[in-house]
Symmetry: C2
Subunit: 248 residues, 2 copies
């Protein structure tokens, strides 16, 4: 029995999220189907976390136990030939049996992209939320800084969160402009359900002048979802990467 | 009667090319339908040139005659709300009645993109031809240089070309690497049917070591399509822009 760890990219547009669901196409189910075709094994893969319907990933990570003797470096190409075009396995390597893609994860980075062009960029429309009205990006940047550090993020998660507590650490968070695209990068030790999208929905209100940058601090301290802004559209969100400690 | 000139971007994936065809969805037909809904006019638009099925455009240009009194600057937003998501009008302005988007065009720039990554970039897969085998980019660059200038491009056009002669000027042509993406930019006074795709198909053979850079010159001088390489896939091709003389 071997434990294999894989990095996968996918375009979320046509998926009902990463994790298996009773209804709709999911990334997990497509990958499990490809493994079944490749090895005959009926196994479950374990993702580093779920991504919602419509959310993309450049570097999602999952692991799975297999009896197959196919060398680790052959898996990516073998699975890619059996996967639909909107899923691409980037790398597979063997890890210790104690490795758990969710519990072992140390840091995750997400990106949320806003297309600030007058009209949508037709080639980026699946990966960027189009917002043609002027945004005060410096105010958004100032507001975002209040979230860096260890905080209770209850205000910035869905009321449907099932986590025992909402304390998370944001290590870094910043905006970067690239032409008419505005990217928000945020790195933390873990993210709550809808957390990045609620942060962005609230920062958009800051950018529109409906809220002040310092409101982000007050919303955080209030610990109530009702204080924050709306949940930004899923298609602007991308899981960039998941980091693990170097294995001993 | 006014003559309006528009710049349009489109993702070619779901189109059977720009120009109206008896079968399949075309960009021209979608735009004409939107104009019909907007003004009630049953008009034909005139593109700067056709793009093939699957080819994209960042800045295709077309013009049309209209009796409508809608101000030019209102047209882009009015059409975009009536167009499918894979077509975005970027700008509309009034031109003299003598303006003809094809005959008045002075220069066009195309880009052809190769994804040289081991596995395809899932987000660029509709806009890049995936070629995971190693390419000698410097040899391709050297081969490409032979095409700059005024030449008879018979060898680099489809045998189905209907043009009276095949002499065209290439003003500039170069490669640019961007991560695992290799872009070829080529600017000329006009392009023959399949010209950029045959050039790229031949340069790929140079990059693979199957031909020498100097072969490009010999192929050009031989004036026979049979001497050149295959026609590269359409989805890697993008019409970047069309340039016109400043109107007096």
């Amino acid at each position: 029995m071997r434990n294999l760890c894989a990095t996968v990219s996918y375009e979320g547009t046509e998926f009902n999220g990463f994790q298996s669901q009773p209804y709709g196409r999911t990334v997990q189910q497509e990958i499990e189907k490809a493994i079944q075709v490749l090895t005959g094994e009926d196994i479950l893969i374990l993702g580093s976390g779920r991504t919602d319907a419509g959310v993309h990933a450049q570097g999602q990570v999952f692991n799975f136990l297999t009896e197959s003797t196919i060398p680790a470096e052959r898996w990516a190409i073998a699975l890619n030939t059996r996967l639909p075009k909107d899923i691409v396995i980037l790398e597979v390597h063997e890890v210790s049996l104690s490795f758990h893609s969710r519990r072992s994860a140390k840091r995750k980075t997400y990106r949320y992209t806003i297309d600030m062009g007058k009209f949508p960029n037709v080639f980026e429309r699946r990966y960027a939320f189009h917002h043609p009205m002027r945004l005060q990006v410096e105010a958004m940047q100032e507001g975002l800084k209040h979230l860096i550090g260890e905080h209770d993020f209850t205000s910035f998660t869905s009321i449907h969160s099932t986590k025992p507590h909402h304390i998370r650490i944001v290590y870094d968070a910043y905006f970067e402009k690239q032409g008419s695209m505005l990217h928000m990068y945020i790195t933390g030790n873990g993210f709550l359900y809808n957390m990045v999208r609620v942060i962005m929905g609230t920062l958009l209100q800051v950018g529109q002048g409906k809220r002040q940058p310092a409101d982000m601090k007050r919303i955080l301290e209030g610990r109530s979802r009702a204080l924050a802004g709306p949940t930004a559209m899923s298609h602007g969100l991308m899981l960039m990467n998941v980091e693990y400690p170097a294995e001993a």
